[in-house]
């Protein structure tokens, strides 16, 4: 038989076409079935992340509040003070802006935006907006400086020029503990304002520590689960999964009750005489609290993948190794442990990435120094309303996670993971 015979079906249509036709319906149905999920992911995942990426480099408060001025200041060469016409446009725009009540386009918004880059400049804008309508005619430059002599400082105009651009790296600059120097170049922020990088490092370090503790605790439990008779292992499994059945808040507050200085553990220690009553140990509202509570919450994510892998390792492997003369520890190290690596890898990745982005627990029990980067992001989204900075921090977090994922894939291989 020649190859031509093989690839053409009986009615003379090439086999490939024929196959495509017969499977088309099947594929269309499969597509239809996945459609809801695809749509959901699009709405709940792709769009928000896109939005976040966009927000992190986009802020149009200046051009929205004082649009004509924004155009004009961008023409300025940045030497000395801007020309008289620019001052005129600014004053007129400010008078106009004072009348606007629309959320996101008020003078307050403008003031906040500039304040990000030049702390302490907020009142300059609000007070100027109030008094601007007194300036009836030029020269506007002098009039404005008379109103407040800070307008004579080129720095404020340089800052305004930077902020007038809708697309700006300024928030990444801030998120990386950098700032613009007077000449517009980028330099390290003052000691006092260096919070984010340190917090990123702390988040990574704490996540690694939490993951490590989870491994130490989960490995023996998962092993027990996989070897115990069904009835006992079911009971143990229920205990492992119990955290999933109670609300996160309840669990976290339970930790507060246990760990606080007036809590159960301290009371016990005092009662037993290990510590004195005024030497009670601070175990919560600091890093210790964050670590303990997060290990508890993330432990199942380590146990389950480990268990699912260990379950599939028949006891005959260890027995074979022993029968060949290997001591139990050696046999375990050479034969059992390597086979659990896929589960260990999956658990590690899962716990670490969850820990990096964890928010509620550190917020509740972390105190000041137990706060993680996601708490700072939440602060900017909810409290300071500096969405752009929050988005920039979020994007950096995303990039870090992707980098780790990539590194992980290089070292271990994603295809080796086994979640269950």
């Amino acid at each position: 038989m020649s190859t031509a015979d093989i690839s053409i079906s009986q009615d003379g249509i090439p086999l490939k076409q024929k196959l495509a036709k017969t499977t088309a319906l099947q594929r269309r149905r499969a597509l239809l079935l996945t459609m809801p999920l695809v749509l959901f992911l699009l709405v709940s995942f792709v769009v928000p992340i896109g939005q976040m990426l966009f927000n992190s480099v986009h802020n149009d408060k200046v051009s929205a509040v004082v649009p004509n001025f924004a155009d004009a200041i961008l023409q300025w060469d940045g030497v000395g003070l801007p020309p008289e016409e620019t001052f005129e446009i600014f004053v007129k725009d400010m008078i106009q802006a004072k009348k606007v009540r629309e959320v996101g386009r008020t003078v307050g918004n403008l003031a906040t935006r500039v304040n990000y880059e030049m702390p302490g400049s907020r009142s300059l804008f609000t007070s100027t907006a109030r008094k601007a309508k007194k300036i009836k005619e030029g020269p506007y430059k002098e009039a404005l400086i008379k109103l407040n002599k800070k307008w004579g400082n080129p720095q404020i105009w340089l800052t305004l020029q930077r902020a007038a651009r809708d697309i700006t790296p300024a928030f990444y600059v801030a998120a990386l503990d950098l700032k613009y120097a007077e000449d517009g170049s980028i330099e390290r922020a003052d000691e006092l304002y260096q919070i984010y990088l340190n917090n990123f490092m702390k988040t990574l370090w704490l996540s690694a520590l939490i993951t490590f503790i989870c491994i130490l605790l989960a490995y023996p439990v998962a092993y027990l689960l996989s070897v115990l008779p069904l009835r006992q292992s079911n009971l143990l499994m229920i205990m492992v999964l119990l955290p999933f059945w109670t609300s996160l808040l309840v669990r976290t507050t339970a930790w507060i009750a246990i760990l606080q200085t007036e809590g159960i553990i301290n009371d016990m220690l005092v009662f037993l005489g290990f510590i004195s009553d005024d030497g009670r140990i601070q175990m919560i509202y600091n890093q210790t609290g964050t670590i303990i509570a997060m290990v508890h919450i993330l432990l199942p994510f380590m146990i389950l993948p480990l268990y699912s892998v260990m379950k599939t390792i028949p006891p005959s492997y260890m027995r074979a190794a022993l029968s060949m003369g290997a001591k139990p520890l050696y046999a375990y190290r050479k034969v059992y442990f390597p086979q659990t690596l896929p589960g260990l890898a999956a658990g590690t990745l899962l716990v670490f990435i969850l820990a990096i982005g964890y928010y509620i627990t550190p917020a509740l029990v972390g105190g000041e120094d137990g706060l993680l980067i996601s708490n700072l992001i939440a602060y900017h989204i909810q409290k300071s309303l500096n969405w752009s900075l929050g988005a920039a921090l979020g994007t950096i977090l995303l990039v870090v996670v992707l980098l780790l994922y990539w590194l992980y894939n290089k070292l271990i291989g994603i295809d080796k993971l086994r979640f269950g």
Partner: protein
């Protein structure tokens, strides 16, 4: 105990997993050096359990196991020096074939050069010289099985245990592997304790077979003896094909039992384990020991039988008769000229000798 103590001795071994049921009830067995002993029995009869106790993975509940004359109940498995082939092979999936074979040598602290030499020799022995670099998953079932055998032998153990090593293979491969294992046993002078529930496998490979039922060894004897003179009805049924006629003993004399079949015929049989007149008995008769139209005086028992069914097997014709009230009486009629005339529905005479008909327990 004989002058030379056996390599392995099970002495009054009992085993219970749950403290209620004895899965092994008083097991006694001696295995001499160089012997190939098979444990044969239906599923759940305790074969694997006995093997695991010998290997050291399960403690005996009662009794003592001796290896080379020394009690080993307290010796951990890794100090017993027993090679083992598991039912699922238990080849380490994360190591190559060569690494698998090198494992027991590495454990023993053998140098790299000698290790490689030994591994190569072991692989050649099972004709897998080319496959050292592969992972077990990349081998066929038969190849994996041979690797498992090679791994169990590579460190020259005194004793090799094999737990249904051929269970997962198809018939052809099975037969080929049976031959290869047997060959290795003879070539290397190994002592093998083998577990199977396939009686043909047991018969063709073993020096001796221990037939298990319900945790008890029913008979332990060389294959021919098991087949020719089973000591009870269970063994007779379990090993080979077997016609059964139920009856009652009416007389016992010099090892000959007169038995009245339930359908009324009187049959003389060899007394095996019936003890007194009036005992119920199962008469056991191999299909190839029955003669059709026997010559006058050549047989002790002779009955007329109706031909129910003929199945042509080439060298013999499997014939089903109704005789002595049983309609499932099988006779293997040799395909020689005289018997080609056997017709379904005909009545013919069949007969057998007293010695071929065993009076066993009911």
């Amino acid at each position: 105990m004989s002058a030379e103590s056996p390599l392995v001795r099970f002495e009054n071994i009992q085993k219970s997993y749950d403290g209620e049921i004895l899965v092994v009830k008083n097991f006694n067995l001696d295995v001499a050096k160089g012997e190939f002993v098979t444990m044969l029995g239906p599923s759940g009869s305790g074969k694997t359990t006995c093997l695991m106790m010998l290997a050291g993975f399960e403690p005996a509940t009662h009794g003592e196991i001796y290896l080379k004359g020394k009690p080993i109940n307290k010796v951990p498995p890794y100090k017993r020096g027993i090679g083992m082939v598991f039912q699922n092979y238990a080849l380490f999936p994360h190591m190559t074939v060569a690494e698998n074979l090198a494992f027991p040598l590495e454990v023993r602290g053998m140098g790299k050069a000698e290790r490689e030499e030994r591994v190569k020799r072991a692989l050649d022995m099972v004709q897998l010289g080319e496959f050292g670099g592969r992972r077990p998953m990349q081998l066929s079932g038969g190849q994996q099985q041979r690797v498992a055998v090679a791994r169990s032998l590579v460190f020259d153990p005194d004793l090799v245990l094999m737990d249904e090593p051929l269970g997962a293979l198809d018939k052809n491969l099975r037969e080929q592997m049976q031959y290869e294992i047997k060959h290795l046993h003879e070539q290397l002078g190994l002592t093998v304790v083998y577990v199977t529930h396939d009686q043909t496998e047991a018969l063709t490979m073993s020096n001796r077979i221990a037939v298990f039922e319900n945790g008890i060894v029913q008979q332990c004897a060389p294959p021919a003896e098991l087949y020719e003179s089973p000591s009870n009805a269970f063994v007779a049924n379990f090993i080979g094909e077997n016609n059964r006629i139920m009856g009652t003993v009416t007389a016992l004399e010099k090892g000959v039992a007169k038995v009245t079949a339930d359908s009324g015929e009187s049959i003389s049989a060899k007394q095996v384990n019936v003890h007194s007149v009036g005992d119920r008995t199962t008469l056991s008769l191999r299909p190839e020991r029955v003669t059709v139209s026997p010559a006058e005086g050549s047989v002790d028992n002779q009955f007329s039988a109706r031909v129910e069914e003929l199945i042509y097997h080439g060298d013999h014709i499997r014939t089903r008769f109704t005789v002595c009230g049983h309609d499932d009486f099988i006779v293997k009629v040799p395909n020689s000229a005289g018997h080609a005339a056997l017709q379904q529905g005909n009545t013919v005479t069949i007969g057998w000798k007293m010695e071929d008909c065993l009076a066993l327990d009911a």
